[in-house]
């Protein structure tokens, strides 16, 4: 007879992660977890019994988002900084670094399936090739979510949040490096 247990392992103490609250995301199709800490980005695979590995030094890192259909693409955001990265293997990450137009804490971040990047601070801050915009009706954004079926965005939203060209350029550069 076989029974199924929920088993919990306490895997490490907070001292190893710094003193910040962490965000955790899992990537589809992989058993890896990404951990956001006050030091930067860790990758961690508890099933392999490994210890978390720091793969991106980013002292003000606040949020991460993984592309919904390509777990090698991740975006990181912190105070006034946005890193668009490609995760090549367990311990290798190539990133291009951009400036965010605000020092306010990033409250939410999302990599959409069409390559767009959504960024929220205490106000819903949009990134576009015309510069930053604020959507005052949506002040004090704390959380946002995208349905998984996102395709190219409607014009009004695209103008607010669009960074696709920047990302494409970044990935082309990365591919060139390889």
């Amino acid at each position: 007879m076989t029974i199924i247990y929920v088993f919990a392992s306490n895997v490490l103490t907070k001292n190893l992660l710094g003193n910040a609250e962490t965000q955790i995301v899992s990537s589809s199709g992989s058993t890896d977890f990404f951990l956001v800490t006050s030091e930067g980005l860790y990758v961690f695979n508890p099933g392999r019994g490994s210890t978390p590995l720091l793969i991106r030094n980013f002292p003000s890192l606040q949020k991460i988002s993984v592309h919904p259909s390509d777990s090698s693409k991740i975006v990181l955001a912190g105070s006034s900084r946005l890193d668009v990265c490609k995760h090549l293997n367990t311990d290798l990450l190539f990133c291009n670094r951009f400036s965010l137009p605000t020092n306010d804490p990033v409250t939410a971040l999302k990599y959409a399936g069409d390559g767009s990047i959504y960024v929220a601070t205490n106000k819903l801050y949009g990134m576009s090739d015309q510069g930053p915009k604020v959507f005052p009706m949506l002040a004090e954004v704390r959380y946002f979510e995208l349905s998984s079926a996102i395709s190219p965005l409607p014009t009004s939203l695209t103008q607010l949040f669009w960074m696709e060209n920047i990302i494409r350029q970044t990935l082309q550069q990365l591919i060139g490096l390889l």
Binding site: M1, T2, I3, I4, Y5, V6, F7, A8, S9, N10, V11, L12, T13, K14, L17, E21, T22, Q23, I24, V25, S26, S27, S28, S30, T31, D32, F33, L35, V36, F44, P46, G47, Y118, A120, L124, L138, A139, E140, V141, R142, Y143, F144, E145, L146, S147, S148, A149, I150, S151, L153, P154, T155, S156, L157
Partner: protein, 290 residues
Amino acid sequence: VTDTLAIGTPTKLWRYERQPGQSTPTYHFYRVNGLIDAAITSLKFDSNGVLYIGNKEAMNFQNPDLTFKRIGGGPGGIPYGNITAIGTSQISNSVWLGSTYGVMKYDNGTWRYFNGPRYLTDQAFGPGNSIFALAVGVYNGMDSVLVSTGTGLSWFHFLSVSLDDKATFFQTLVKPYHDRFGLTASAGLSNWGDMSSFYLQSSENDGLWTGMYLASQALRYAVTKDPDAKREADIALEGLELLNNVTGVSGLFARSVLNQSNLPVRICFHILIIDSINTLFFFFFFFFFF
């Protein structure tokens, strides 16, 4: 397929949608303290487009047709409020929720609640029971959930084990941590979470646990004929004999015994509480199988 952007603020849930063929999105908003009980603390879409909304009072969810459902407290309801994080399974309809006091799993109307040092990184009521973040992945074809707490990380995963594996796991803990004069005794830890700091304790249930352990070894021997099972049963029986003999009255069981000092030369036992029906029951159970 509808493209949807859901946005939570302290006062509203905004929802932007673009239906197929539409060039501009439509939007809706729902006021907090209306359909949603309180300020939104977490949002998550599952793969079916259902939006889960957490707050301090309840878990709400909104279907793709924009209807809401609320699961608050009470019988069959959410075990605990104050939701801080939501994750959805990649392989089932399960929803995992972090709160300021533990982790919850919701699966088609059934709740499970995980709290305290068995699952999290702290003693009961400590900051390690408060969940900061949570993510759901896959491990061995089942959910794998990593949570961060006030004191560390905890990884929830599922194991398929046989009853024999389960028995073997617990068997390995008995001899090194719970054997006190042959009794199956309670053990404490001087340093929380540090197994090497264990110490044996006397309790009024020593006879009960020993009787149960004796019965388990009798059953084990009956099935496996493993000589180790008989050895373990003999040791437990000697522990029960000690409880019987130490009172000086034949047939009258002590609930526990305690060594007066650590001196090995002369052992003097204090009888704590006598008379244990449970112990007698397992004592006779043992003889039935042998």
